[in-house]
């Protein structure tokens, strides 16, 4: 079998590469990491008109071959065939924003000068037309010396022609006349202007949509309130919209457990299935709707181009703690999950700035904490209004989010003056044009997130739940003895309990904290498993976890537990991704130490304050 040929999409950031990639490959995509670096490798199969499959790679957006960030380094290495484990692409597809040729043609010339088989996609030509530009692709093709195909990725225009051109790309390496590798940036920029002028047939000055939107969204006084209102709506939606779906999933898990219980003879295997697998994994899957809704909003904000405006608006505040607006995007993503958040720090050029952002990312309230917060709040905080339509439960949840944010800001301030000391970082960022995201791109993005989450639930959480169930059930208790006390896990927890008792934690919590090192939400399923195992009879087992907690915990303990999870770095994946991103154990070690320290101190303060107040 002959090897499948490879083509790579290259271009400036905001050229519409990802939309073009999605349009060309459909849902047949594989997302992985390049070996040794954590830059995402997006690859997919596309079909040429001849029926031949080609592997298409979507390279990180880049302004030039002189790399300044890890992302751009990957682009350079893949193009030059220097990337380990990645065959040199047979064809390069340069993606240009038709409405910003003067800028995008600079990098395009640099790539074409390499003399490799190259095709140019003149993308987003519809938006250029919207801006009043009439372009002549033929003139551009003449000037560049490689085929130029007008495309509109989101409307699927020009895709067949582009596929055909990719198929024939090897016939189209730029002829020597157009290969001028020795000109410098300034000359290339002048050349880009000349080429753009030649390709623009006419230009009507129209009041462009995006500058009109920016007038409002970047307005000194309107912009920030709009941003905060948007963020408020996002978090409101995460909780309000998710409830019916979460309830349905919850009911589904309960129904499944009941069905299994009814259909199987009582045995340890049946208990493992119902108490271990179904209640454990089920209690985590319930949070899929919330995670999806948060990711949906983040994807929309990114795809529309608003996220860069949010970074602009937040820059001054971030500068106050020694960071820049660039840190805002990774930190916002960290509200869904710290892992994509930490990976998104790669767009931060300044190393100290980036390290600080990585270290504080776990303080953003990720979706894995929601299961923990939701269960404890529902059980211990009365569902009453504090006036003006604001519920007490919602207020506590809000306070937990704020505690994480304030904690992160204070930590950043301290770190920037101590361990990550350095020159104040700058902020340079292109503000992309506003665009309507396509349903298909959003759906694909959401599907990929959901899949990552479910795979996690199906592997890490499943394994941990089953292991915990086994630890809880063996050795078997003698008659009259409590099963949890007799179990191996019970003995382990007794040791840990000595350490956490001063901050108001009981043995059950110590027990839940051990497997929760894998992922925070596991503490909920662990508590569910623990109380299901220790519950003697069927009626007691059926009692909701919340009622179990209310019967066994005091309010100060519950509040201390919440405070613990604001800080505690209980997520192996975050530690692992930090190690990868910082190339060693020094910084993940530091992260573990400082976060556990803060968690212990703040849980203790919370517990003893609550006790003193007589709660």
């Amino acid at each position: 079998m002959t090897r499948v040929r490879t083509a790579a999409l290259v271009g400036n950031p905001n050229a519409g590469k990802s939309a073009l990639f999605n349009a060309l490959t459909g849902a047949r995509q594989k997302i992985a990491n390049y070996p040794g670096v954590t830059v995402e490798r997006k690859a997919g199969r596309m079909l040429l008109p001849s029926g031949e499959p080609v592997e298409l790679i979507d390279l990180p957006g880049s302004y030039g071959l002189d790399a300044t960030s890890p992302d751009e380094e990957v682009t350079r290495k893949v193009i030059l065939g220097e990337m380990e484990g990645q065959a040199k692409p047979e064809a390069l597809v340069i993606v240009l924003d038709a409405a910003n040729l003067e800028q995008h043609l600079v990098f395009a010339q640099e790539v074409i000068a390499l003399g490799r088989p190259t095709v140019v996609a003149l993308n987003m030509i519809d938006l250029a037309e919207r801006d009043g530009l009439v372009l002549d692709p033929g003139a551009l093709q003449e000037a560049l010396g490689v085929p130029v195909i007008p495309t509109v990725a989101v409307r699927r225009r020009g895709l067949t022609e582009l596929a055909a051109a990719i198929g024939e790309a090897e016939l189209h390496a730029a002829d020597p006349v157009h290969r001028r590798p020795h000109i410098d940036l300034t000359e290339r920029r002048l050349e880009a202007h000349a080429m753009a002028d030649g390709a623009i047939l006419s230009e009507t000055k129209r009041h462009r949509l995006h500058s009109r939107l920016d007038k409002v969204l970047l307005h000194p006084w309107l912009g920030p309130p709009i941003l905060f209102a948007l963020l408020f709506v996002v978090f409101q939606a995460v909780f309000a919209w998710a409830t019916p779906f979460a309830d349905a999933l919850d009911a589904g898990a309960a129904w499944l457990a009941d069905t299994v219980r009814a259909g199987m003879a009582p045995s340890l295997a049946r208990d493992l299935l119902t108490d271990g697998v179904i209640s454990g994994v089920g209690s985590v899957i319930v949070f899929l709707p919330q995670i999806l809704i948060l990711f949906f909003f983040i994807l929309v904000l990114e795809a529309t181009g608003y996220m860069a405006r949010a970074a602009f608006l937040m820059d001054r505040l971030m500068a106050g703690v020694g960071l820049s607006g660039r840190s805002f995007i990774p930190l916002l993503s960290s509200f869904a999950c710290a892992i994509p958040g930490i990976m998104a720090t790669r767009s931060i050029a300044d190393p100290k700035d980036r390290l600080t952002t990585i270290l504080i990312a776990p303080l953003m309230t990720c979706s894995a904490r929601l299961p923990v917060y939701a269960v404890i709040i529902a059980a211990f905080i009365p569902d009453r209004s504090v006036g003006a339509g604001v519920g007490l439960q919602g207020l506590v949840l809000f306070a937990l989010y704020v505690a994480g944010i304030v904690g992160a800001m204070v930590v950043a301030l301290v770190l920037r003056r101590s361990v990550t000391k350095g020159a104040a970082s700058g902020f340079i960022m292109e503000l992309p044009k506003y665009q309507l995201p396509t349903i298909k791109d959003l759906a694909l993005g959401l599907f990929q997130r959901a899949w990552i989450f479910l795979r996690r639930a199906g592997t890490i959480i499943f394994t941990v739940t089953v292991v915990l169930w086994l630890l809880l059930n063996f050795p078997r208790a003698a008659p009259g003895e409590d099963q949890v006390d007799a179990s191996l896990a019970g003995h382990l927890a007794n040791g840990l309990a000595v350490v956490v008792e001063p901050i108001g934690f009981n043995r059950d919590i110590a027990l839940a904290l051990i497997p929760a090192m894998a992922a925070r939400e596991v503490s909920v399923s662990s508590l569910a498993t623990t109380y299901a195992v220790s519950a003697g009879d069927e009626t007691q087992q059926a009692t909701q976890l919340g009622d179990q907690l209310k019967a066994r915990w005091t309010l100060p303990t519950a509040l201390a537990f919440l405070a613990w999870f604001v800080f505690a770095p209980q997520c192996m994946s975050t530690i692992a991704v930090t190690r990868r991103e910082t190339n060693g154990w020094k910084w993940p070690g530091f992260m573990l130490a400082y976060l556990f320290g803060l968690a212990y101190i703040f849980a203790g303060i919370t517990y003893w304050s609550a006790v003193a107040l007589g709660l």
Binding site: Q103, D184, H219, P220, F427
Partner: protein, 92 residues
């Protein structure tokens, strides 16, 4: 290309002092006072000697930082410190 290291050209103003909406041309950039990586990034975005720019927005908080500059068909956000390194002359 060697650029003039003049920080202030007689008669010119620094980019951060430009009135909003006033078209201008960059006449000199004091690259030496910028971090090399940031200087490279600014040049990659076209903020270089001879470029035509318009100051579009200023931040709201203390120091009216950062700034958004329109260059060609792009809008680029940068800090005042970067803009201060660029001398411009008003055009049109």
């Amino acid at each position: 290309m060697q650029l003039a290291a003049a920080s202030v050209t007689p008669g010119g103003v620094q980019l951060d002092e430009l009135p909003i909406g006033q078209p201008a041309r960059i006449t000199a950039v004091d690259w030496a006072c910028l971090v090399p990586e940031e200087a490279q990034r600014l040049r990659a975005l076209g903020l270089d000697d001879g470029a035509r720019v318009t100051l579009a927005y200023r931040g709201v908080f203390a120091g009216r930082d950062p700034l958004a500059v329109e260059i060609g068909r792009m809008t680029v956000a940068l800090r005042r410190a970067h803009a201060r390194a660029m001398t411009v002359e008003q055009v049109g």
